[in-house]
């Protein structure tokens, strides 16, 4: 089956998840990847949203971090302070999913401003849960589209710390978690190089060339010694993903007050 680069990105991210994972899920690409994993090879994966919903099993993708679907299908829903105190800071989350507007070669993420902080060219939404997701989850996976605006030589602002300036910078700040061990883009997978912690391309998606990747990266990107090829999406993966999107589209259309009250 034909597929888009977005679909490849979602499917590649979903494949990185397992049944035993406890995931802190963000909206958008992370939510898509986690739901897809749950609907395919990881039916028992535990999904947690920062709105407080624990072990939620939404049938459609939530538009927001706190859609009704999330609490209605959760094992339980706790307060937001409890979520950040006992669950995230308490070390209960194995994988945190992050996105952002800019990423650098050491996995540092900017989701605050383009330009200077005081006089921003673009004021972005900000960090939300990310600064602590980045330091408190067992490891983080980053999902982002890759181009010269997003993969930059230097992020304008470090909202969420990855490997800082590389090497043992994380440890020197007293952070004990692994950090961004995987970056999934629409072109490839990247993983930190042992020692330097610089992100290297470790797998290229079908029909993507090294040239494509270099042209879409704002720093002189390096490739791992062995670069694998990401298996193409299977028909099953694509069908389940498309069903999910179709259900989602229907659910989000026209959920007006009168509709809701008619239920």
């Amino acid at each position: 089956m034909e597929y888009s680069t977005s679909e490849m990105m979602a499917i590649a991210a979903a494949r990185a998840l397992s049944n035993e994972d406890v995931c802190f899920v963000g909206i958008g690409a992370p939510s898509e990847a986690c739901s897809l994993a749950r609907l395919t090879h990881a039916p028992d994966i535990t999904l947690i949203y920062e709105s407080g919903t624990i072990a939620t099993r939404p049938a459609v993708l939530p538009l927001s971090i706190g859609d009704p679907e999330l609490s209605e299908t959760a094992l339980t829903t706790v307060s937001v302070p409890e979520m950040f105190q006992y669950w995230l800071q308490g070390g209960r989350i194995s994988i945190g999913f992050l996105g952002g507007a800019q990423l650098d070669r050491f996995g540092n993420i900017n989701s605050s401003v383009i330009g200077s902080y005081e006089r921003p060219k673009v004021r972005l939404p900000g960090g939300g849960g990310a600064p602590e997701i980045a330091s408190q989850c067992g490891q983080t996976y980053i999902v982002m589209r890759q181009n010269r605006r997003t993969f930059v030589e230097q992020v304008d602002f470090i909202t969420s710390f990855g490997y800082g300036r590389g090497g043992d910078h994380r440890q020197r700040l007293g952070i004990t978690t692994l950090g961004p061990t995987l970056v999934v883009t629409d072109l490839c997978l990247l993983r930190p190089e042992p020692g330097t912690n610089e992100l290297l391309v470790t797998s290229m998606h079908q029909n993507v060339t090294r040239e494509d990747i270099m042209q879409n990266t704002g720093w002189p990107i390096r490739f791992a010694q062995t670069v694998e090829q990401t298996p193409a999406p299977t028909d099953t993966e694509l069908e389940i993903l498309r069903d999910l999107h179709a259900r989602t589209k229907q659910a989000h259309a026209g959920k007006g007050l009168s509709d809701a009250r008619a239920n």
Partner: protein, 276 residues
Amino acid sequence: MTSFMSLQAAIAEYVQDGMTIALEGFTHLIPFAAGHEIIRQQKQQLCLIRMTPDLIYDQMIGMGCARRLIFSWGGNPGVGTLHRLRDAVEHGWPHPLELEEHSHAALANAYAAGAAGLPCAIFRGYLGSDLVGINANIRHIQCPFTGEQLAAVPAVRPDLTIIHAQRADRSGNVFIEGIIGVQKEAALAAKHVIVTVEEIVDDLRVPGPNATVLPYWTINAVVQVPNGAYPSYTHGYYGRDNAFYTAWDAIARNRETFLAWMCEHVLADPPASQSE
């Protein structure tokens, strides 16, 4: 102690220009109707606190109610940025807006510290983040047992907190369920509290002994506002209008369409949330 009031009377009595106020509700139970009444009463120079400003603060900022925003994530969830918030920050329209930016963990802890009567909250946060450099209210303490450095933020203590809830009983005890967010903390941290509710009932119908209930003596005003959270939602009553959240992006993108929408839907008419 609680009074039962109209929304107009409650906002007139408890909101003064220049106050620090929090309208809380984490995606769920956002007190839209109360925010619209603040806009209609043309309150100004407010310091607004909310973890996620959402559409309600985009509207209040765009209508000129705010001088300062304390927040941790300022987007339209799943849709994009908040254009009115951006316009105020990037171009000072209609007024410049000061920002005090935190992470969710910081602000959630700060509300909890406010509820607990503490001057500050401590947590293991902001490690390696540039937010430390741009916010003077992020400081550090040293654990007196391990020597570890921990982040500290001042407790949030709003002059007024407004929340929306499922229902109140006739004494004014309030029941809330679903995604409860930081509403209990925001209410208990504030000097005054207004709660808008879907209904006022004889029996609060709590589902069990540990239901989230705010006793009447923690609340100043209870206001019945059916659909008072719309286009956000009330678990057990009505769903989130995701289509409207998506449509807001185009409405708010430029000043004229925004003002026209506000005139038509908030200023001119009784709000949609109350007229139905």
